[in-house]
Amino acid sequence: MEIKIMKNVLDRNQDKANDNRKLLSDKGITMINLISAPGSGKTSLLEKTLDHFGSMRKIGIIEGDVATDHDARRLAIFRTPVLQINTEGGCHLDSHSIDKALQNLDLGSLDLIFVENVGNLVCPAAFDLGENHKVAIVSVPEGDDKPVKYPLLFRQASAIILNKTDLIPYTDFRMDRFRSYIRDLNGSVPLFEISCSTGSGLEYWFEWVKQV
């Protein structure tokens, strides 16, 4: 006997993501989901962002890692609420873990939440957390063809960050090639070419964060 199902494979995650989205909207909170490979500079970017905004925005962080709270500790010095999720082997955060995290944050005291997803360019792109924006981060040492290798993420991103631009002279990274891959995939998305080490280009990222 044939039974029609007609359900989305990721329905369970999507339903909870929709709940998260509604809760955040009701509370007037914007949530940004930072996605990148391990070591691209998500935590460094958050350090610079928290340092810049200080008390101008009421920011909370949900930190996702397979293990340890190293990244959460780096961010805790900015006196911002940071909640660490350890997936213990899971390669991405999902909406259920974000739901639990939101229950443990004082949402009334926040207007902006950054989620630092587990370092992974594949799975996080497919799992809606209930965020307003996905931001993709890639760094120069990873190569200029990263976007075309991971089209789902770069296509869905509301903004794309290229970090570690200070290393371009020491690699064979070609900016013209990188920009053309981005243009093919997601031509209208803002691209921020930055270096968290030197501070170059960060002001444009801060401007974008201000207006979301």
């Binding site: 029609k4 199902i5 494979v9 089209p151």
Partner: protein, 113 residues
């Protein structure tokens, strides 16, 4: 493995449907999967075979219809096949493309008794 995450989700939904319909054995699961997800067919089938061992899905056929990427330009309305993940309208050059097919993750049906 990325594919295993999808298989786990597929089996969760199919288990629920099997229980609701009192199936003792499932012989086929039919899916529609968009190529945007870049799931590797061999790995998906391998993950499926591994995950269903000892369950009511063991031995079932995983029947997948792979959906290609097609887009519609929101500027001029032109519909086209998206090749090599290039989201630019071949008619007017606009970047504003709506993805019409290629992002499906649909569990269509199961067969069993």
């Amino acid at each position: 493995m990325h594919e295993l995450t999808f298989i786990e989700n597929i089996l969760r939904a199919c288990t629920e449907a099997s229980q609701q319909n009192h199936l003792k054995k499932v012989t086929r699961i039919s899916l529609e999967i968009g190529k945007m997800y870049q799931l590797v067919p061999d790995l998906l089938h391998f993950a499926f075979k591994t995950a269903v061992t000892g369950t009511l899905f063991e031995g079932a056929t995983l029947d997948i219809e792979w959906k290609s990427l097609t887009g519609e330009c929101t500027g001029c309305g032109h519909s086209f096949t998206i090749e090599e993940f290039v989201f630019i309208c071949p008619e007017c050059g606009s970047f504003n493309i709506k993805l019409v097919s290629g992002k499906e993750l649909l569990i269509k049906s199961i067969e069993g008794n």
